[in-house]
Symmetry: D3
Subunit: 332 residues, 6 copies
Amino acid sequence: MTTGTDRRHINEFGAAERVEGCFAITNAQLGRTRNDKPYLRCLISDKTGELPGRMWSIDEPTFNRLPTEGFVWLEGETQPYQGELQLIIHAIDRAEPSPEQLRDLLPSTDKDIDAMFADVVAMLGTLEHPAVQALAQAYLDDEYLMQAFREAPAAKVMHHAYLGGLLEHTLNLLRLADAVCPLYPKINRDLVLMGLFLHDLGKTRELVYDRAFGYTDRGELVGHIVEGAIMLHDKAQQMMATTGQRLPAGALTVLQHIILSHHGVPEYGAAKIPSTPEAILVSMLDNVDAKTTIALEAARPDRAASFDLGGNFTQRQWALDTKLYRPDPLAG
Amino acid sequence: MTTGTDRRHINEFGAAERVEGCFAITNAQLGRTRNDKPYLRCLISDKTGELPGRMWSIDEPTFNRLPTEGFVWLEGETQPYQGELQLIIHAIDRAEPSPEQLRDLLPSTDKDIDAMFADVVAMLGTLEHPAVQALAQAYLDDEYLMQAFREAPAAKVMHHAYLGGLLEHTLNLLRLADAVCPLYPKINRDLVLMGLFLHDLGKTRELVYDRAFGYTDRGELVGHIVEGAIMLHDKAQQMMATTGQRLPAGALTVLQHIILSHHGVPEYGAAKIPSTPEAILVSMLDNVDAKTTIALEAARPDRAASFDLGGNFTQRQWALDTKLYRPDPLAG
Amino acid sequence: MTTGTDRRHINEFGAAERVEGCFAITNAQLGRTRNDKPYLRCLISDKTGELPGRMWSIDEPTFNRLPTEGFVWLEGETQPYQGELQLIIHAIDRAEPSPEQLRDLLPSTDKDIDAMFADVVAMLGTLEHPAVQALAQAYLDDEYLMQAFREAPAAKVMHHAYLGGLLEHTLNLLRLADAVCPLYPKINRDLVLMGLFLHDLGKTRELVYDRAFGYTDRGELVGHIVEGAIMLHDKAQQMMATTGQRLPAGALTVLQHIILSHHGVPEYGAAKIPSTPEAILVSMLDNVDAKTTIALEAARPDRAASFDLGGNFTQRQWALDTKLYRPDPLAG
Amino acid sequence: MTTGTDRRHINEFGAAERVEGCFAITNAQLGRTRNDKPYLRCLISDKTGELPGRMWSIDEPTFNRLPTEGFVWLEGETQPYQGELQLIIHAIDRAEPSPEQLRDLLPSTDKDIDAMFADVVAMLGTLEHPAVQALAQAYLDDEYLMQAFREAPAAKVMHHAYLGGLLEHTLNLLRLADAVCPLYPKINRDLVLMGLFLHDLGKTRELVYDRAFGYTDRGELVGHIVEGAIMLHDKAQQMMATTGQRLPAGALTVLQHIILSHHGVPEYGAAKIPSTPEAILVSMLDNVDAKTTIALEAARPDRAASFDLGGNFTQRQWALDTKLYRPDPLAG
Amino acid sequence: MTTGTDRRHINEFGAAERVEGCFAITNAQLGRTRNDKPYLRCLISDKTGELPGRMWSIDEPTFNRLPTEGFVWLEGETQPYQGELQLIIHAIDRAEPSPEQLRDLLPSTDKDIDAMFADVVAMLGTLEHPAVQALAQAYLDDEYLMQAFREAPAAKVMHHAYLGGLLEHTLNLLRLADAVCPLYPKINRDLVLMGLFLHDLGKTRELVYDRAFGYTDRGELVGHIVEGAIMLHDKAQQMMATTGQRLPAGALTVLQHIILSHHGVPEYGAAKIPSTPEAILVSMLDNVDAKTTIALEAARPDRAASFDLGGNFTQRQWALDTKLYRPDPLAG
Amino acid sequence: MTTGTDRRHINEFGAAERVEGCFAITNAQLGRTRNDKPYLRCLISDKTGELPGRMWSIDEPTFNRLPTEGFVWLEGETQPYQGELQLIIHAIDRAEPSPEQLRDLLPSTDKDIDAMFADVVAMLGTLEHPAVQALAQAYLDDEYLMQAFREAPAAKVMHHAYLGGLLEHTLNLLRLADAVCPLYPKINRDLVLMGLFLHDLGKTRELVYDRAFGYTDRGELVGHIVEGAIMLHDKAQQMMATTGQRLPAGALTVLQHIILSHHGVPEYGAAKIPSTPEAILVSMLDNVDAKTTIALEAARPDRAASFDLGGNFTQRQWALDTKLYRPDPLAG
């Protein structure tokens, strides 16, 4: 069985190209064809893109072995259909990709994860209050969680929706705060930085990203916001038990409040409206990074989408409630 | 020093009446009079009502001993002012009321707390799933929490805003559910009853009710909804560690979801929209009891407010977004 | 001409199956094919489901005989198309189904209509006030209306959208009220029960359900809420003229108010906001039954839809503003 | 006992002026003074204004004879209080004003009611369809209703809130429609004119205006919109029974729809959204007349309020969601 | 090369019809077919309708010569596809239509543009204030702008979305105002008429209509409302400089305010809420004409759309938030 | 006549203190006392606070000389009234304060205006594009405008509502942008900085601040947002005419768009939704500075208000839709 890494990527596929290798599969469904024969309908993807897949004769035992979302080895052939490519599958089976293959199958940050993580650690090293410092260390010492923090995407869709996206977004925010806090001397920088470090950590439990990007049941029913507050509840107790350090009265509450309120308004999922200067700043900086990133990715992408024929405006960006004007009139 | 219980209650005060005894005080503020002398401005209350208090000459040491919200012994005299009574205070000092006095000072349910609590225990005894039963028992065994559950009001204002109100509201809901669940055989009654028992327990930490009714800082910044979910997180772990019983997979998540979603929509504080049949039913029954209670208390009170001169409609009830029509055309 | 009852139902159709019999038709439209020939495009249904129909050569006189919504006799053949079945029609003509056939063509309650109606009558027999009792009797004596009440669906789509659904929903609500009223002694049970009996009766004139389920012109322009109030205006006058009984002053107004306000808020069609305790309770119980029923039908249906491949969440239910979590963690 | 018409009007009162005569009273309440003596607190008005009244010693029998809203004969004295006048009452008793006195006590249109009514009749004489003509005649023949139509205000507050205001507003609208309809030849003028004549007739039952302006219980619980539709239901049946004329199919429904939808959107009380061209036009013309009238009365009143010291902007007009700029830059 | 005017119009096309002539093209995009060959995907239109076009083999130089939106000469053949016609293109090239051809390609008013413009000029001749008269004249003397005013559509979609539509809509409004102003003697008619003349003039720069109807970049980023205010700023300065006439203090501000506020509320694009009686009237009359026109065009069109099979209700009209009832019950 | 600078400031006034000097007056109104004598009711302020003023006998000529908003010389005496001070005026007359006195009468930034302006100039010196540089210079060369820019407050109430506040807020934002832009390399820094410099310049014409802080008529009717776009329209034309430099195509439009959209959403006054990455960033940074400043001023003011008795929460801040938690748990 060939491994994924030596095949062409999906964004390189031409028409009528023979394909063999390891892919991600989502939305696997059993349809019934014309003659009441079962057929497979699914989406096939790797880190570079996705295309619809069809397997016109599939026996139910084979189908039952396939994951609804997960990984498969397949061979088949591309075929144009209504102006787009689809993949006609000849053979398919469940597969367990190696870590190396996995990196090839899911979209991922193009930054260096180790370097970004080191920057986060360094930034947290600038915290001044010893108990907050100790709390940060307790998180950094949690290897299982930090591994997830390094890998998780920051979202299912929207901004930073790729492996390493949570780390990248968090680091961006720490840098933003580092630049902005000095302009407001009364702001407590420790609370802002610690709040930003913690604000989306619940996403490590809200999102699944080992097959496709989606929400866990717990993500749907509890959500990363409350999850993050519960994680902090546990971690603070553990830190205080282990180190003997005590968080000052109110500090746990205020940090939980920052997590619970960082979406700003209830309509966007905030459990509380930001009610301390630091909670307000955290919520707004999160917004600045998310929206600026979305706007720049949409209006000035690194690579134009292949079939994009231009025009001065992008599609409507629902997170921004508008379409974007692309030209920079001062450029070139 | 006389105790509160042998004095007349505030709703019995006449004009120019001499007053001495133990009262609740709120909103204690220091003003400056005409000649730049400090004076005391406050609200004085017992379980039957409140009236404004003024002490025209007070030295700062005395003022500093007074609680902003709490209890005082005082003597003074009632005086009509702009058609209402106020209390001119001659002497005042901080006081620590006995439990008996306390019952005289704060509004309280007129039901029997022991009997209501016994009914809740009996209702929880009908839970069928052994692990849910064990979880309920773990709560019932938490004496400190149960004491708070018996005493807490259900709200600062609005419905059941009196000592014992949380217990009364919870018992009402368990009875409602007991009556309604049989009509929907696919509803899991255990989840509904357990969900209702837990839904407002976070209010024991959100509200203070030992002096006046108000929110704790943690109530303002975290809130009873998330607090209840965290309490369940702890209690479930403790129960499983202690009893060896395991909650089925997903049960903790689903119960936390019921707590987090019971306010129905984010605008009313729900951290999640109710997304299981049981969460939907819990949220709606909570609404039925709250609004029916508010409507009946407003339109058909046990005792008409003394200065109320009638009319067919009540004042606007903001929780109901309307004023209420009082007459029952079929009555008498 | 074969009758519907001896043919296979639509949910049993396989591919390439020959079909002959009586069906419901909706959305009948004349298209123009490639060579400018007219063809028929429509939806064909019976009580078990629906599928798209096409007749590739149809002369205009035949088309003009067909109802846009109504019943036809047809023969044809099923054909898979884009993974779903469609019905290629060879011959078609207008048909007048017998009452027996009709029951086979429209979705219908699976409860016993006579038994449910008897339960409603019995429930109304518990009304205490003689004039309200007489008013109820005047409705029950209106055979034409009661026939419609027994047959009408409760909605075009949403909950109880099948023949007998209005009766089933009304009976559910009377039972709910019967269980809930004793918990609120100040509630006037007569007003609640009578209000629930009347609240949706206008739907007998708002909906058509003799061919497909839809709105009458009067339903669109006046609506069941105002219609129900007008019907009560007439019925009360007739009762008082016939029996000499007089409704107490205000009773007609209060009952009309319950009808006019039962949708709760103007955005959902209420002409008034519920402003008596009974109007508030009626509106909330209606909501409890509607949403609980929708939630249970979606999350725990009697029969899984055939092509449904599972997953823990349903599609988004727009009436609940969420998708639903299916598993009951305490079950099995 | 002196009658109202020979005394000075409230807007002419000076300080320390002796007053005797017939007045309207509203908000009559019993307070308790300093020495626990009852006193009367109320508002005293005639058609030119209102001022607060106080009677410092009143026995309960006298108070109990007074109407909460209604008419009284009184003698007393004006007294400045906090920069405004109040009326210190020495003697007071219930009174039944003559029709002539009544006209002196309630605010009223300054147009000629007979002439306006004649104009409405003339306008309805231009209706073309004989059945609509007959329907209009049936309304005009209803003397009791027409008397109310001539007298009623168009609103409790807001625009045309004076006796004769409903007639004045209706005539304005008929004239507007007469001017506008010719610009839209496809508009059915009969429906627009008849719709405008009927649109607010329910206000004759929604408002009380024989003492002060207020809502009837039925106005609060049913409202003029549904009331108008019920009145039309009755009147159309009566007209068809009496004259043998038949309204064309759908005409009653469409006219009821115009009444039910004339407030435009549910948030403003519409039971249906306007869904015919005529309903849309009626709703918009009603809006044009109401808002233009409010704007002109606020920005360019006939008489400046006496204490108004000017400024270029009025107070915020909540019906217009803004304050208004007064100057007309092109004027003089 | 044949010109457009002697060919059949798109609404007359049959299946398999040979087509040659000048057309408008929009949405021109390059797709890749099955064998990775480029193909052209576009929409082809004239003033009578549009249909999808495909050219299965096109070389890139040819494609690059084509405008994304503009005009082309083409030859090809109609072909039914999925029940609708599409145009298979055999040859295509950029074209510059003559003015005569242009009139054939874009939808246009069926009224006489010269006559309408003369009516506008006459209406402006009734302005009374000399400086406002001079300002109007300055606009009328701006030939370039007046040419655009005569040609521009009033909208991209919605009402009056055809060449000459802006002029037609403006004239309608001037006539409406001429009929309505006399009913409100305190309204300054000059401000209303001038305001209506100016209110949408910014659309001459917001919309492009020389190829298809769309927004200019400046239209998207600045909009016709602010543009109109800037144009007035320039024009008033120019008029005052040229003629020596001075607008009274505040007149420019008030006219700009009318332009800025004519959409009524911020959600619909108003930069200010209408805050003078004239601004309120302008905004409401604009609404009356827009909605009445939309309603009549939808419910009672001059020509039924060819495939429309009737029914009493139109599709939902999103500008009216409802579907419309078509029948006029009093007609015929 | 004494000048203001040698008298005590309002926040230092005690009871029964004799007062003489120059003050700001607002809300000057003529009331009528008890005996129908005119009296003066007004607010008296200097830069440190305000208090109500009353002059019990004033002749109309004197009153007519007083400005409604402006400056007066007065002598009088403070008097406690209902627990607060009021100023009983014995003599009053219109006054023209010297610039020095003016600084004493209006609240003002405590930063150095010359230094801040120099920093703005330096920041604009870092613009890279020569035409944008030239445009900035054209603004800086407009002495009249720059004088206003240095003096104007940034708001009537809310944040930076003091003389010099516009300059202080603008400089804050330039610094914020200078810190943030490097984190987003694709952002055009010139557009962000120039956009921030221009975004509120219209406030120099929207606000009056030479007597009290208020809106000009033009501010109410046109507003600083559109005004700023018109100012840029003029300034860009002037710069291009004077210098021969040309702004690149689209640059004027994009800068006007930044001004028009900087309030983010129409409900907050934006004429357009931000639709370029730079417009989005400008709008969000404006929000960050405004809200952080409001939060810090409310929760951690430089000087506690004198009568503030503490508590952990501030009053509700309507701009933040919440009350704020004051303690910083990590402090001290």
